[in-house]
């Protein structure tokens, strides 16, 4: 077994999860400010945006925009929790005791969170299309949407997480048996 805290894989895993969590937190925080601001101070915000824009903006699709930002907020929050759970699992691995029931619950929760964020990409893309339509009518804007709406890697990841959750549940039970064996 690797020495705890002296393992490059675990260390990089911890660093990456911390960085990603920080990125999600910053994004979610910005959206947590932007969405209520758009809802409650729509006129003031629009006025500011129009004044700062070098070109006429036309009719900005506010409802799709707020919806888009709202869904992005939920996705970022879900991913924040996701990476937190991943780091908690990594911590149990460094502590040398990963086969505990709580890790099975964490993996299961991670699978649900990822599934939710996967499913949310569909309304996200739909709203983005509405906004893209508006943006295309403006001069000097070349906005294109790229990527697949159906992300096979994400769906596979959800499946793998659900299966891993079961593996860990089984492993935890075996571990418990082993601990009571003399």
């Amino acid at each position: 077994m690797n020495a705890p805290g002296n393992d490059l894989l675990l260390l990089s895993g911890k660093v990456v999860t911390i960085l990603l969590q920080a990125a999600m937190a910053v994004g979610a925080l910005a959206l947590a400010i932007a969405v209520p601001a758009l809802i409650f101070f729509e006129d003031a915000v629009l006025e500011g945006v129009r004044a700062g824009s070098p070109m006429p903006l036309g009719e900005i699709p506010m409802l799709p925009l707020i919806g888009l930002l709202g869904i992005m907020f939920i996705t970022l929050a879900a991913l924040f929790v996701f990476f937190g759970k991943l780091r908690a699992i990594i911590d149990t691995v460094s502590a040398g005791d990963p086969f505990v029931p709580v890790n099975a619950e964490r993996l299961s929760a991670m699978a649900w969170l990822l599934l939710a964020s996967q499913l949310l990409t569909w309304p996200l893309v739909a709203l983005a299309l509405v906004i893209a339509e508006w943006a295309q009518e403006l001069d000097d804007v070349d906005l294109r949407l790229e990527g697949d709406a159906f992300d096979i890697t994400g769906i596979l990841m959800v499946l793998v997480l659900f299966i891993l959750a079961r593996v860990f549940r089984h492993g935890a039970a075996m571990r418990e048996d082993l601990e009571g064996t003399v």
Partner: protein, 82 residues
């Protein structure tokens, strides 16, 4: 509600290590050294908290205490709760 006797797997199996040790005038520490188990693990067995016992452990205890597995383990059919 505390789990009843039927809910706990293996709860009707008694470990009679205490009696055997007393009859042989041997301490738990001494037996632990002889069978090559930690005192902590042997205590788990003695207090009936063990979930399973390896054949190698059983063999070593029988060897050192000069007894049969049946002398070490018993089954309580009519175990009362508590």
């Amino acid at each position: 509600m505390p789990p009843s006797m039927d809910d706990i797997e293996g709860a009707r199996i008694m470990v009679k290590l205490d009696d055997l040790l007393y009859a042989r005038r041997m301490t738990l520490t001494e037996l632990a050294e002889r069978v090559g188990l930690t005192l902590a693990n042997l205590s788990i067995l003695k207090t009936g908290k063990a979930k399973a016992i390896r054949f190698s452990t059983l063999e070593a205890i029988c060897r050192e205490l000069e007894c049969q597995p049946g002398d070490l383990l018993g089954y309580r059919a009519d175990a009362a709760e508590g």
